[in-house]
Subunit: 419 residues, 2 copies
C-alpha cells in the first residue's frame, strides 16, 4: 500500500519543476483545509512532518511499540503485533520513515512510523538476537541463534537475499551452527559479528549480494558474547564470557588480525553471580578513553584506546549494563542489573568519579540520548513509563506512558555506524 520505499531498485523518474509546483499546490490546499495542527490528530490527510525526531519504545511484555516524538516529548501512538519483544532491537531506514524490529522469536518487522502500522513482517528464524542495516541503507541483516547464522534481506521488500550459516568444527554431517552475537555494520556493505559457540569472529562483505564473501577469524577467545565497532569505524571488539579479556580487530590495518586486550581485567576480584550480561553495543568512547561495563562486578572500566591497556576502574552502584557517553560532554551514564536497577549514575570522565546518582524510576532497563545530548530518555519498566531527563540539571522534564518499556531507539541511529 506504500510502494514508496526509497530503496526501490527501479529507476525513479526525476521530478521536474511542474511536478514540484503541483505537489506544493496540493500541500497548501491540504494544509489550509485540514489545518495541520502540530500533532497527528484530526488530520484528513497524512501529516507532512519530519521523521528525524521520531523514536520507538519497545513494550517488552505485550509486543507493542510506542511511537515517540523527541521534540514535543510525547507519545504519538502505538503499534501492536510485533510478537516476542523480550529481547528486541531496532534499526532505522536512512530516511527515518521505517523501523526494522528484530524480535526474540525470529520475527523481523518493518514499521512505517508516520502511518503507525506494520508494513511487512517475516518470521526469519526460530530465535534471534538483533540486527543491523548496511551503510547505504539497502540491506537488513539479522543475527540468529536458531538456526545459527546471519540472514540478509532487501530493506524494501524484506526478500531474503543471502543466508550465511555459521557452521564450525570438523566438516561432516554433524557440523553445528554457532549462535551469532555482536553484529555491526561496517562501511561498504560489510558486517562483522561473533560466533558464541565457535570462539570466532566473521566479517561478511555483501557488496556483491549474490556472492557474499566471508573472512573468518578463529580462536579469538572463549565465548564472545557481544561486540561493537568504535564510532570512528576503526576497531571491532568482542567481549568474552568464557575468559577474562576481549578480542580486538583493527579494521584499518591490513592484513586483519585478532589480538587479545584487557586480559585479566577481573583477575583477583571476587566474582559475583552475573545477573544480566552487559551490553557492549552502547560502549562509550569519550576522547581517548573507552568506557565499558565489567561483567559481574560493581565497576565501570576504562581503557586507553591507543594501547588498549586498562586505564582506570570506577566503583559504581551495581553491576553495570549500559555505559553510554553523553554526546558533546565529559560524562558517561550508567545503568545497572537487578537488584540495583533503580539507579542511574553519571561519571565525570575527567576526574573518573561518579558525580551524580539518579533514581528515575523502578527497573531501569535502557536509556537513549537525543543526538546532541540535551535530554536522555530512561525506560522504567515497573513504572510503565519513560522518563525524559534534562542532562544540564538532571531534572525529569516529563514522563511518557509506555507499557513495560525496555529499549528506547531514535531514528537518528540511522546516521551512526554500529547502530
Amino acid at each position: 500500500m506504500f510502494p514508496s520505499h526509497p530503496f526501490s531498485p527501479l529507476p525513479q523518474r526525476r521530478l521536474n519543476r511542474r511536478d514540484w509546483l503541483a505537489v506544493c499546490g496540493a500541500l497548501l490546499t491540504a494544509g489550509a483545509a485540514t489545518g495541520l495542527a502540530g500533532s497527528l490528530a484530526g488530520c484528513a490527510a497524512p501529516p507532512a512532518r519530519g521523521t528525524e525526531d521520531l523514536g520507538v519504545v519497545i513494550g517488552r511484555e505485550n509486543g507493542t511499540l510506542t511511537l515517540v516524538d523527541s521534540t514535543t516529548r510525547t507519545a504519538l501512538g502505538a503499534v501492536e503485533g510485533l510478537g516476542d519483544l523480550s529481547h528486541a532491537s531496532v534499526v532505522f531506514s536512512r530516511d527515518g520513515l521505517f523501523a526494522y524490529v528484530f524480535g526474540r522469536d525470529g520475527g523481523l518487522t518493518q514499521v512505517n512510523l508516520l502511518a503507525g502500522r506494520i508494513v511487512r513482517r517475516v518470521m526469519q528464524a526460530g530465535n534471534s538476537i538483533g540486527g543491523a542495516i548496511s551503510d547505504d541503507g539497502a540491506l537488513i541483516v539479522a543475527q540468529n541463534y536458531t538456526p545459527g547464522g546471519i540472514k540478509v534481506f532487501d530493506a524494501h521488500t524484506l526478500e531474503l537475499l543471502a543466508d550465511v550459516p555459521t557452521f564450525y568444527g570438523p566438516a561432516g554431517a554433524n557440523q553445528q551452527r554457532s549462535r551469532v552475537v555482536g553484529l555491526v555494520d561496517l562501511p561498504g556493505r560489510r558486517f562483522a559479528y561473533s560466533l558464541f559457540d565457535a570462539d570466532a569472529i566473521w566479517i561478511t562483505d555483501c557488496s556483491d549480494i549474490k556472492n557474499p564473501q566471508t573472512q573468518k577469524f578463529e580462536r579469538v577467545g572463549h565465548q564472545p558474547y557481544d561486540g561493537l565497532v568504535t564510532p570512528d569505524g576503526r576497531y571491532y571488539i568482542a567481549g568474552l564470557f568464557g575468559e577474562d579479556g576481549m578480542a580486538l580487530i583493527d579494521l584499518w590495518t591490513q592484513p586483519l588480525t585478532v589480538r587479545r586486550i584487557l586480559n585479566g581485567y577481573g583477575k583477583g576480584e571476587q566474582r559475583l553471580p552475573v545477573y544480566k550480561m552487559p551490553h557492549l553495543r552502547g560502549w562509550a568512547v569519550a576522547g581517548r578513553r573507552a568506557w565499558f561495563p565489567a561483567v559481574g562486578q560493581h565497576e565501570v572500566l576504562v581503557a586507553d584506546t591507543q594501547s588498549w591497556a586498562l586505564a582506570g576502574r570506577v566503583p559504581v552502584a551495581g553491576q553495570p549494563i549500559f555505559v553510554i557517553a553523553r554526546p558533546a560532554a565529559p560524562q558517561v551514564w550508567c545503568t545497572f542489573a537487578v537488584p540495583d536497577y533503580g539507579h542511574v549514575q553519571v561519571i565525570d570522565t575527567q576526574s573518573q568519579r561518579v558525580i551524580k546518582t539518579l533514581e528515575p524510576g523502578h527497573a531501569v532497563l535502557h536509556m537513549e540520548f537525543t543526538p546532541r545530548g540535551d535530554t536522555v530518555w530512561v525506560s522504567c519498566r515497573d513504572d510503565n513509563a519513560v522518563r525524559v531527563i534534562d542532562t544540564q540539571n538532571f531534572e525529569t522534564l516529563t514522563s511518557i506512558k509506555a507499557p513495560s518499556p525496555s529499549g528506547v531507539f531514535f531514528t537518528t541511529r540511522a546516521t551512526r555506524i554500529g547502530f
Copy 2:
C-alpha cells in the same frame, strides 16, 4: 499555514489511542486513494515521507535552493527567492523538516523541505556570514558583520528573542562593533563565536533567553577568521588570519582560558597570495589527529589533539579549502582554492599521504558526506552539477543538475554539534 512547528511553546495535547487509530485510518484511505508513489509527483495529498535523507544545494548565483534526496540520489525540486546566496550556510530543525538559510545579505529564511516552499523570511542584518541552531533546536542564531553581533531567534516564529552587539574598545559613543565569525552551538543553549575586529572569543549562554549571559575572552590572537568545535564538544578553536597560529579553549576545564596553539606553523614558508580563506567548520578530527587547511599554502596540516602540537604536513594539489574526514574510514578528503579547484584529493590518515586525486568537475566549491560515508556529494559550480561519488571505489554514481551550486547540506547536520 503550517502552524505545526515542533518548537511551539504551547502545551500540546497528548494523543490517545483513538486519535492514533483515526490518523491511521485516514492515512490508509489517503494511501489507497492516491497510491503514494515513491516520489512526490502526482500525489493529491502531502507525501508522508521521511526527512532524514533530505538535503539542500545552494544555488550561488540565483538565490535558489535545490532540494535533494540522498537515498534516490535525485533532485526533488527547487525553492526560489532566497536573496544573495553568494556566501550562504544552512542549519536544520531537529525533525529534518525545516532548513534555515543564512544569506550574505542578512536574510534568514525558513524553508519547509516537504512543501518545497519558504515559510518565513526576515532581513535580520545588512551583512551576515552564517548561523547555528541550539542543541535542543529551539533557538536560531545568526552571526553578523553589519551590524556586528549575534541575534537569537525563535526557531518556530523567527521572532527576535535576543540581540548581542559586539562592541569593543574603550567605552564611549564611538565604540565599534566587531564582525562575528566562527559561530558554533555548544550544549545547554550556549554559543561560541569569534570577533574578527576585536581579537576576541565570546561565549553566550541563552538558557535564560530573556537574560543571555556572555563570557568574554580578549586578546586571543590577531583577527580570528573562523572557528569550530571538535566533534566531542571539548575544544573551541579559532583560526587566526593576522598571525601564524590558532586560539583554543578547552571547554571541559574550568575556569575557561584561551591558549595559543600551533604557533608559527607557517614559519619559514614562502607565503603565497591567499585566493580564498579556508573553512574551519569542516575540520576533520580522525582518531587522535586533527586535520586542517594551511592558509595560503599547498599543505594540509596535522595536529595531535592531546598536545595540540603540529604532527605532520601533507603536500597537496593547491591551497586547501575544505578538509573533511570521511565517516568511519581512515581518510580525509580535501577541496582547493582557485586555480586548483578542479581537483579533490583523498589522504590516507594512517600513512599521511595522498592516495587518490579526483577530477569530479569544474570549480569544486564544497562537498558533503552522507552520514555513514557511503557517498560524498561534490558541487561543481561551472558544470551546474553536483556529482555523487561512491567512496568505496571513487566512481561517480550520478550527476544532479543544480544551478551554480556551492554548499551541499544534509538534514542530518541537525544531529551534530557545531553544524
